[in-house]
């Protein structure tokens, strides 16, 4: 590890920290319907959308109506993208004459983008027309992120409101998240990326003769516009297969830093917004602190493992860190940082090959996803996922102060525990069970490239990633009917099986009265709470996966240290 390596991480984090409060205040204004400095431009557009769609912005929804709106919106989005992918061959903006996608892959891809996962069993440059990229994938990149933020806002409202039957209006929250947050920031960031050299055109690919005399196809297309939302919306689906490792998507150190920042800032701002909306900013900071500690913990391990390198290669005389699968222009620190950040959140964009990380370096992204991506987390999904853990922590630890547990003055009772545990149950069910099926069935093993613990890690990673709606991959796993269907299911339930209980929990909390806080009340803004929250996350979240992880990356690490390979 080097000082410059650490500086990269610290500078990145310092900028995130600096942006957290202003963004959080801005988000709070946006979702509390107050005027912002963007209002003069955006408000007329917002009103126009409401008029066209027949939305009454004053209408409030109870939790189930909110959840139904989310589900209905997602279903329509799914059908739309599926049809688009199945018919792209006959549609315009297809200079490469790319064919229609086969059904199971189209099903998988439509779910993947609908759920903010961006798991890609295809290569963008050979499987997607420009129209599919722009009108299909990018559309979902925007709206799935905005929907996630809307849900997080509704959940926070449930905590903040008292004796209320409603959580807000999904259509309004969705529209505002799009118009006030994702579109403006994407425009600015897209232009900045253009300035760094990311292409933005509708040309067919160019084939050039290189200096060495070989032929190379250089992809083009509307990349910069898609790149910004890919990170900002924690989507992660690359325009091209190499994702942010490709010089077209991520050309410079500055673009790399910008992309890292885009991944974190919405989630970080939302955490502050939570503090503002529940009128306890310290609670927001406490959550921020727990997330920051988990972030630095993950980064330290990943960076250390990558910098330490592979002992087997050291035996061959090539000392130094592990550079396999990394862009040399980014180096070890920036690659480890990117891998940590992209799996802390549900982004899944990559600037290096996670499969080529050392065993422990690869364990970090794996564990991050298995925790449910709550270290800042996906746009919105990180916040409501973390709130589920907060509720569990409050329930377990809250009893220790000698009162029935309270969260922000609201009693955590049977219903709340039920919904929180349901949301937490989703991850083990959707990761461990499909992995178990894949590990012992011919269909699951058929497209596996590696044997031994590393092969196991690849399967485990695939289901951890799709369940958490991350979308990054260890690769080494080819698409087939089994994986197309299985990962489709994990993506689908990984998202909606958490959203529905989270909204139900919020609905239940919103209806409660708040008990005034006193010296005997358990509070969620203390240092001891941060410690307990992290303890709950690690023990409840991570210990579930310890047996599986032990048979994957952990044993691989031990074996490599011993000198075995596969």
């Amino acid at each position: 590890m080097t000082i410059t390596g650490w500086l990269q991480a610290l500078v990145f984090f310092a900028i995130v920290l600096a942006l957290t409060k202003p963004l959080g205040l801005y988000f709070a204004r946006v979702f509390e319907g107050e005027r912002t400095w963007l209002s003069p431009v955006v408000e007329p557009l917002e009103r126009l959308i409401y008029r066209i769609c027949g939305i009454d912005p004053a209408h409030e929804m109870p939790w189930y109506a909110y959840a139904l709106a989310v589900l209905a919106f997602s279903l329509v989005g799914f059908v739309y993208l599926y049809v688009l992918l199945r018919t792209q061959r006959w549609l315009p903006l297809n200079p490469q004459h790319i064919g229609n996608m086969e059904p199971s892959l189209a099903w998988n891809t439509a779910i993947s983008f609908l759920t903010n996962t961006n798991w890609q069993f295809y290569s963008g440059e050979t499987a997607m027309s420009y129209l599919s990229q722009m009108a299909g994938l990018a559309w979902h990149n925007f709206v799935s992120a905005a929907a996630g933020v809307a849900i997080a806002v509704a959940v926070v409202r449930g905590i903040a409101r008292t004796s209320s039957a409603t959580l807000g209006n999904f259509w309004v929250d969705l529209t505002r998240a799009l118009l006030y947050i994702f579109v403006p920031i994407s425009i600015v960031a897209g232009l900045a990326l253009c300035a760094q050299g990311v292409p933005q055109n509708f040309n067919a690919y160019t084939t050039v003769r290189t200096v060495e005399g070989g032929l190379q196809t250089i992809t083009g297309g509307p990349m910069a516009s898609q790149e910004a939302i890919k990170e900002l919306g924690t989507n992660g689906g690359g325009f091209v297969n190499a994702n942010s490792a490709s010089p077209n998507e991520n050309p410079t150190p500055f673009s790399n830093l910008l992309e890292l920042l885009l991944i974190f800032i919405v989630a970080a701002g939302l955490v502050y917004m939570y503090g503002v909306m529940v009128r306890n900013r310290r609670a927001g900071w406490a959550m921020f602190a727990a997330m920051s500690l988990l972030f630095f913990g993950g980064f330290t391990v990943a960076y250390w493992a990558e910098a330490a390198g592979n002992p087997l290669i050291h035996h061959l005389g090539a000392l130094g860190g592990n550079l396999e699968g990394k862009e040399v222009r980014f180096g070890i620190a920036a690659s480890a940082l990117f891998a940590t950040v992209t799996t802390d959140t549900s982004c899944g964009a990559v600037n290096a090959m996670h499969d080529s990380f050392t065993a422990l370096g690869g364990l970090v992204p794996l564990v991050n996803m298995q925790l449910g991506e709550i270290v800042f987390g996906g746009a919105g999904s990180g916040l409501y996922g973390m709130i589920m853990f907060v509720v569990l922590t409050v329930f377990i630890a809250g009893l220790m102060v000698g009162r029935t547990p309270e969260f922000m003055g609201k009693k955590i009772e049977r219903r709340e525990v039920q919904f929180a545990i349901l949301a937490v149950l989703v991850t083990p069910v959707l990761v461990l069970i499909p992995t178990a099926i894949a590990a012992v069935t011919p269909a699951g093993l058929a497209t596996l490239n590696n044997a031994g613990p590393h092969g196991f890690s690849e399967i485990l990673y695939a289901f951890s990633s799709t369940n958490a709606n991350n979308g990054s991959a260890f690769a080494g796993l080819g698409p087939n009917l089994f994986y197309n269907v299985a990962t489709g299911i994990t993506m689908l339930f990984g998202r909606f099986a958490v959203i529905v209980p989270a909204l139900a929990l919020a609905g239940s909390l919103a209806g409660k009265r708040a008990i005034p806080e006193g010296p005997g009340t358990f509070t969620t803004d203390s240092g001891i709470f941060v410690a307990l929250l992290m303890g709950t996350i690690v023990i409840v979240g991570a210990l579930t996966f310890l047996p599986a992880d032990a048979l994957g990356p952990i044993v691989e690490h031990l074996l490599v240290a011993q000198g075995s390979t596969f």
Partner: protein, 683 residues
């Protein structure tokens, strides 16, 4: 006889592990193995199912003479122990209640009743009595059923119910009219209107309560059970999927080992002790001689935000003392003292006696005038006094009543004493005006005596976040002074039942939970409205029915103890849950390397405890998991150490002990057991 009965009645004189209770609990532990019973507790049901499955493997091993038969047998045996230990914990907790119920049942023998039927007395058995019957109870008779005295007054020995040997007065009308079946009349004859049918009497309910026959899970217990069931499902998935994973890794695990891992990971410690904690919490309330009608009430007590405390009897000793007689201008001190003495001679109230005592110190004539007529206090006149033979009238009483009386008799009281009256009231005392005929002689200063250590108690409550409100019939000035002296947070002066009710509703409207005590019939609505209502056993039937707890000692201060027990109960649950979950870390480190020691010898690095063999590692974890339940039974029954402090201080302390302790203890425990197993060559 009385004192012996009292010993039986008071379970706090019963050791935690009474021999007879333990013996019966051990038998009950086996009886509770019935799966229909175990189903109520999903965590322990899984353990039982696991034990049953491993037992099948033991049988198979015996049939096939398998090499690892000893290991399977040891695992199966310890899994059964785990279930039995948890059942034992519950049975011990229940046993304490049962022992108490039995001694109560001895009290409840059939008695004969003298029932009024069509104007004549008819002898019937107590079981034939119905609501509305009127019975006559004479000296020496046992009262045949719960009821209200409708005629007469008597001394009643209630020790069978309360354990208190001093007899109490029960009389018709007012707030002391309720009598309980099974108690004995020691003097006089009373007529009692029966208010409960057989089987529904207080004694019946009490027996049912202490026996736990009606015990239902409390809301928090249900929520916690759901959490534990959820965690259990998580670990079932984690362990079940380990079978295919191990097949992939080429090291297929046996079902016995997987079950051992599962049982170690699911929260058996809290799962096994949860119901014992709840029963023991109610039992601790009972040991303070308070009957909680439900576990829910005890749990609610821990959540109380506002305590409404009656001034008299809770904050102050019930009686006030005369400390000073201030004379009016031109009145001689001895003259006033003599008048005060005479006015109180026949006044048997503690206040009256204290005035006599004070006056005696003033060197006055102590003879009693012949032919004087005593004028008793009434709520209407608010005065008492004496009419002497010579026509002199002496009165003492509330200032405005006495002033009005003086004016009525043609006197023109001078305003000079008004200042004293107000000063006394402001200082929290009660001023009594003393007058003779048309002349006001002076003011008697009655002082409220605070109970000792109340200020510290209220400070402690405040640090726990509980607000105390003093309820008193005094005027606002007096109330403010006493409130300040006692250190309560707020007070309600000139309290009427309606004002009390409104206060409760206001507090509840702001989201707070309210606890109060009461005894009178007019307290009943407020007792019912309050989240925790403690009725005094000396109170009326209506009050007792409205409340969710009854204090058999009729000591209003108990409310504070009940709140502390409620808090302790919740803390114990939280502490053991935390401990149970934190334990999993060490168990993983014991079992995982052991499982894959053959397939991946390098996993030995994770065997941080350096456990001897894979088999001893797994067995040690299972044994630790079973023994920790036994080790924690005393904690579950007694409750965790409780000190009133702010939430964050309590949390920090408990998180350290049970969270961090829960991480570390099993590492040591498992290592120790492993060493023992090795030394004894048991693996």
């Amino acid at each position: 006889m009385l004192s012996q009965r009292r010993l039986e009645r008071r379970p706090h004189e019963r050791p935690l592990f009474d021999r007879s209770i333990v013996a019966r609990a051990a038998a009950d532990a086996f009886r509770k193995l019935d799966p229909r019973w175990m189903m109520r507790n999903p965590v322990m049901f899984i353990v039982e199912a696991g034990a049953a499955v491993t037992t099948c493997y033991v049988v198979r091993d015996l049939a096939t003479h398998a090499a690892n038969g000893g290991f399977d047998f040891a695992i199966a045996a310890w899994l059964w122990f785990t279930v039995l230990f948890a059942n034992f914990a519950e049975a011990v907790a229940e046993g304490r209640g049962k022992a108490q119920a039995e001694s109560l049942r001895r009290t409840k023998s059939d008695t004969f009743a003298k029932r009024w039927t069509n104007g004549t007395i008819e002898i019937v058995t107590s079981t034939q009595l119905r609501k509305g019957d009127v019975v006559r109870v004479e000296i020496g008779d046992v009262i045949p059923g719960d009821g209200e005295v409708v005629r007469g007054a008597a001394m009643v020995d209630e020790s069978a119910i309360t354990g208190e040997s001093a007899p109490v007065v029960r009389e018709a009308g007012g707030d002391r009219s309720a009598v309980t079946g099974g108690t004995r009349v020691l003097s006089d004859t009373i007529e009692v209107k029966i208010t409960a049918n057989p089987g529904e009497t207080f004694l019946d309910r009490m027996i049912a309560l202490v026996e736990g026959a009606q015990r239902q899970k409390t809301p928090n217990e249900i929520a916690l059970s759901i959490l534990l069931a959820g965690l259990t499902i998580v670990f079932v998935i984690a362990v079940a999927t380990l079978l295919p994973y191990s097949i992939y890794a080429g090291s297929r695990q046996t079902i016995t080992v997987l079950i051992a891992l599962l049982i170690c990971l699911i929260p058996t410690t809290i799962g096994g002790l949860l119901s014992a904690i709840g029963i023991a919490g109610m039992d601790r309330v009972m040991q303070r001689n308070v009957l909680a009608m439900s576990g829910r009430a005890v749990e609610a007590a821990g959540d109380v935000d506002t305590l409404l405390l009656d001034k008299t009897g809770t904050i102050t000793l019930g009686n006030r003392h005369a400390t000073e007689i201030i004379t009016a201008d031109g009145v001689e001190a001895r003259d006033a003292a003599r008048a005060a003495y005479l006015s109180s001679l026949s006044d048997e109230t503690p206040e009256g006696r204290s005035i006599v005592l004070l006056a005696r110190g003033a060197d006055i004539e102590l003879d009693e005038p012949a032919g004087a007529a005593f004028v008793p206090f009434s709520a209407y006149t608010r005065m008492s006094g004496l009419d002497l033979h010579d026509g002199t009238m002496i009165r003492k009483g509330s200032p405005d009543a006495v002033l009005a009386w003086v004016r009525e008799h043609g006197g023109e009281p001078s305003p000079e004493l008004a200042g004293h009256v107000e000063r006394i009231a402001r200082a929290g005392g009660t001023p009594l005006l003393l007058a003779r005929n048309t002349c006001v002689l002076g003011v008697i200063y009655l002082k409220d005596i605070l109970k000792p250590n109340m200020r510290e108690r209220f400070d402690r409550l405040r640090s726990m976040g509980i607000r105390t409100v003093m309820i008193t019939g005094d005027n606002p000035l007096t109330a403010a002074a006493i409130a300040q002296e006692a250190g309560v947070d707020d007070f309600l002066a000139e309290a009427t039942p309606e004002a009390k009710m409104n206060l409760i509703k206001r507090e509840q409207g702001a989201g707070r939970l309210v606890a109060m005590t009461g005894d009178g019939t007019n307290d009943a609505p407020a007792l019912a409205q309050a989240d925790v209502g403690v009725a005094m056993n000396s109170g009326t039937q209506a009050a007792k029915e409205a409340a969710n707890m009854v204090d058999l000692d009729s000591d209003p201060t108990k409310l504070i103890e009940v709140v502390e027990i409620g808090k302790q109960l919740l803390m114990t649950r939280g502490a053991l849950t935390t401990f149970s979950i934190a334990n999993d870390v060490a168990k993983y480190f014991a079992i995982l390397p052991a499982m894959f020691a053959v397939a991946y010898p390098s996993m030995e690095v994770l065997n941080v405890m350096r456990l001897a063999t894979p088999q001893s590692a797994i067995l040690s974890a299972v044994i630790f998991n079973a023994l920790v339940i036994v080790a924690l039974i005393p904690l579950a029954l007694r409750g965790v150490k409780y000190e009133p402090k702010g939430a964050n201080a309590v949390l920090r302390e408990n998180a350290l002990i049970y969270g961090l302790g829960g991480l570390i203890v099993p590492f040591l425990g498992i290592k120790l057991i492993d060493m023992l197993l090795s030394v004894l060559h048991l693996t």
